[in-house]
């Protein structure tokens, strides 16, 4: 049985706790990194991470990119959408196709 984790600043992720997800409030990037590596080893299949936190620990997130678990998915925090999640989608398109064919505007 797998669990779902949420990493982010306390104010953004408090609500997830009410739904029964595991919530890990963090305050700085190094703490976030630590938590991420710790719970990635446990039985977490999905880890949501707020974009505000994710933008500072991109390298640590990349480590798990090609692994099957956990799926680390950036979600917008309470300070608005940074576009990081979209950026990731765009990156995988670029990686696969060699050019950005989905988002050209």
């Amino acid at each position: 049985m797998y669990k779902i984790g949420v990493i982010g600043d306390k104010d953004s992720i408090l609500g997830f706790k009410a739904l029964g997800l595991s919530v890990f409030p963090v305050t700085n990037p190094s703490q976030a990194e630590e938590v991420l590596h710790k719970i990635a080893k446990e039985k977490f299949a999905v880890i949501y991470i707020t974009e505000q936190v994710a933008k500072d620990i991109v390298e640590s997130i990349e480590v798990y990119k090609d692994e099957r678990f956990p799926a680390i998915i950036p979600i917008p925090g309470n300070q608005g959408v940074l576009g990081m999640g979209m950026q990731n989608v765009r990156k995988s398109v670029e990686r696969a196709v060699g050019a950005d064919i989905l988002f050209k505007e």
Partner: protein, 217 residues
């Protein structure tokens, strides 16, 4: 084009021809794999993009509601209200196979005593905004899981496509030209030997005829 360092013999020639056949076949198969993967990937990623836009919009609504809830309630009260969740979410993970890439498939189950009442607090001490925030959040959750599944699948497929494309290119632009070049080299060398042999024989024959003519005189 660089050819390989081989002995120009007939044995080597057959061996190389066999290798070329295998390489050509592999190239064709990999190319088909790449095309199919690409088709699947583009479909997936298009859906992924739409879903992400939707989830992001919904999340912003949740955050808005939360912000108001926090404004009208003290933070201690808010924390207290959410401290003990009533619901548990557990995740079943199976894998799906897309062109021999294992992508995860999530099914989540919520465990709560009462499906209609997901709020882990009494309504007396909390504001209505919190209720709607939690309500929308529980609506977003299935979409978020779908998004997680899709995004991971897209990442894994992207990796596989990249790998396959490299292999196809290596075969197409390195190995196959190299093999053809080497085969050509061996064939030319063998032909040259053959011609050399022929001229030598003709020369020997000429010399023998010359000797006979001289012996008759």
């Amino acid at each position: 084009m660089a050819k390989m360092r081989v002995n120009p013999t007939r044995m080597e020639l057959t061996r190389l021809k066999k290798r070329l056949r295998v390489a050509r076949r592999g190239h064709k198969l990999l190319k088909d794999k790449r095309d199919e993967l690409m088709k699947q990937f583009l479909e997936l990623v298009k859906k992924n993009k739409e879903l992400r836009e939707k989830v992001e919009k919904m999340m912003m609504k949740v955050h808005d509601n939360f912000l108001i809830a926090r404004a009208v309630m003290s933070s201690e009260m808010l924390e207290q209200a959410l401290m003990f969740p009533k619901q548990r979410v557990s995740l079943e993970v199976s894998t799906r196979n897309i062109m021999s890439v294992d992508v995860p498939d999530f099914h989540f189950k919520t465990k709560s005593d009462d499906e209609s009442n997901i709020y882990p607090y009494g309504f007396a001490m909390t504001s209505g905004e919190l209720d709607s925030a939690i309500g929308t959040l529980s609506e977003v959750l299935p979409y978020m899981l779908e998004l997680a599944q899709m995004e991971k699948a897209a990442q894994l497929l992207a990796e596989e496509i990249e790998k396959t494309r490299r292999r196809v290119n290596a075969l197409e632009y390195v190995l196959i030209p190299q093999l053809t070049e080497t085969i050509k080299y061996i064939v030319m060398k063998l032909d040259e030997n053959e011609r050399g042999n022929l001229t030598r024989l003709m020369k020997v024959k000429d010399m023998m005829i010359q000797q006979q003519i001289e012996a008759m005189h």
